[in-house]
Amino acid sequence: MDDVLRLDSIHAGYQGAKVLVNLSLEVHPGEVVCVLGANGAGKTTTLLTIAGLLRPMAGQMTFGQEDLLRLPPYRIVERGISLVPEGRQVFPNLTVLENLLLGSYCARARSERQGALEEVYALFPRLRERVQQMAGLLSGGEQQMLAIGRALMSRPRLLLLDEPSLGLAPRLVHAIFDAIGVIAQKGLSILLVEQNARAALSLASRGYVLAHGQVAVAGSTRELQDSPRVKEAFLG
Amino acid sequence: MRPATLAKALAGAGVTGALLVLPFVGSPLVNDWTVRICSLIILAVSWNLALNAGLISLGHSAFWGLGSYAALLSANDLGATLPVSLVIAMLAGSLAGSGLAAVTGSLRGIFFAIATLAFSEILRVVALMTPQFTGGAEGLYLNPTLRPGSTPVTLGVVLGALACLAVSYALSLTRFNIACRAMRSSEETSKMFGINPLPYRVGCLAIAGAMASLAGGLNLWHGGFLDPLVAFDLHVTVLAQIAPIVGGIYTLTGPVVGAVLIVVLSEVTRIWLGASGYSQLILGVLLVVCVLAMPAGLIGLWRNYAQKRAGSGSLEAGHG
């Protein structure tokens, strides 16, 4: 299946303030694409727009043959796009297991629930140990694992990750990125927003640098690493 | 003066003049309508004043009832005249208002609303259960020998409504109004701007309480009878909120427009359809329609219309 995510001249924002201006990007099947940029450049807004939490003001947005533009968020999950939001956003008063089961709420994923659960446990053995614990009592790293695991439970074809390393100790950042690497090797497309440019570029094959809601630089990982602009701003 | 401002001033003066003449017409029907419209104006202005500070009151019947009882008891037991009893009523209302504001200091939104509702219900139960003061469920009559006739009472209601409007307008020009509006958007924000919300909260409810109690006191003098169910009737609260919503909340003229409309509407439905159920049903429908379709009320509709007529050209010019 040709599940290309394609954003074409997207304009989006919040009441009055336009954040994304004429943004275009693509994610091809099996690719890991990273999005870099300073605070306020529109990285999170891009992901929220794809996930359907924010309705764009203009532009085109498709996934494979499907038009995503007018779909509510729950339909977008059904189409196979799943977002791991910034700040994890686990359900604190639900158990780890309940959080994971919620990940496979949509009809498409519900039938494959048991298999998905085993895969998540294999990826994050820590979660298996804590199935009955309230998610709010987990450490930050464990919550991030839960958030990623929960997104995988929906059997996505495209995973959107928003700042998975935010607020984590370096050791945990490694663990999380290792896991993302494993997920990528299974062939899942990933769109990764990350402050930690070095870690992001180590996983990605391609990337975009956003500035003021527009694509400032785009290219392969190598090209980005060599770009003086990227070097100065993110790797320096 | 711009023509629009002049027209507004003239209209205001005209309405004021007409209201002041009405009590002297001497017709019981005119008096009754005047009292109902003007006391609803007072209630609506009062409710709107509290809402302006973000305080959603579901307890205006408490102030109304307290004012009625204060007027009744001070007249019957102490021989207070109409104006004196009204001052006592207002004192009672402002005391209750400031007390309520102080006690509910940290509550806002829906929780404040529920607290005011409970306050009003408590007063109803207390009034029912203390017949030695209130006559209990049988109620009490105002001593007939004290009643001054309907012209002074009607004039009192008119003057009261004008005074409340004047107070509300004067407040809108001061720092008080700015503080209240800051509290409405968020008490946290107002704290950031160096405004301590509590005094404003107390002040605001003290004034709103005094107004609503004044209306209650005046109605006691108009009707001459009181029992706890009449005094603390939830319907008073409903009227107090529906008039501003229909007219336009957070505005000066909205409550007035709404009050006139509500009284006219409920009279017309009463005459046409008889049973009071219909008039209350229509009030309910009006409430729902206003909230869903025109949350800014008639004044809001009018402003939109006026803005559109002023020309979209100027709007676009200002856009760039």
């Binding site: 919620l102 949509c106 | 409430l287």
Partner: protein, 294 residues
Amino acid sequence: MGIYLQLLIDGILLGGLYTLVATGISLSYGVIRVINFAHGEFIMLGAYAAFWAVTLSGLDPLLMLPAIIVGGGLFGYALQRLFIQRILNAPHVNQILLTFGFSLILQNIAAILWTGDLRSAPSVVSYSVTELGPLMVPHSRLVAFTVAVVLVIGMLAWLKWSELGRATRAVAQNHRAALLMGINIHLIYAICFGISASLGAAAGSLMSFLVTISPWMGFPLVVKSFAVVALGGLGSVLGTIVGGFVLGLSETAVSFFIPGGSGWAEGVSFVFLIAILVFRPRGIFGLAVEEDAR
């Protein structure tokens, strides 16, 4: 001793009904964040439905219960989809006024259609009593209590174990994250409002053979439920259950121990409500302070 036991029984039987009513309010507020002042009218409509069933067909109000539950649920679902849905992000004052408006409309439709006369709908259990030594347990109250308990437990089980119930808890905790799970939150809102309404209607049909029915019977019950919810702590289902029994027992005690107490008992819930809101807004009613005016 016997009299205290009797008070305990009376209080618990009453508390069960309060819990049922309050659970409905708690569910709709906890998930949708809109306080429904028209909940009492669901109770009133449920009571009238039972009354008319008895009057027109001679059926026992208890037999009508399933139909009333379904009808109440559909009514609530429609109300949410058609109206409440539109004011989810409106300022608090609009939300309050909208449900207040519904309350007025439903009360007065009932008053116009069925007059303000007080009515009651006798059931087969209305006139029998079990005597345990000096203790009296009226069957009507016992049956109402049992049904209430079963319904509340059923609702809790649904929340705990069903797919939709789990999704409902997720929506209540973080509705944005729930959207990302592929949950259609508007559907969840409508289902919750429907369940809330059906619990209210069920409570009403149980009350139809316990108390007199009138178009205005609902509103005081709503205010009492606020007290129950506040007592137990918002968002705590267990708390709501405890709160219901605390209120039932307190009212029973007040009407027994204070002369002329049945009148004062009506005020107990309001005193509780103010006292909790004022003295323990953070502790028991945790959300009162956290939640800002929208």
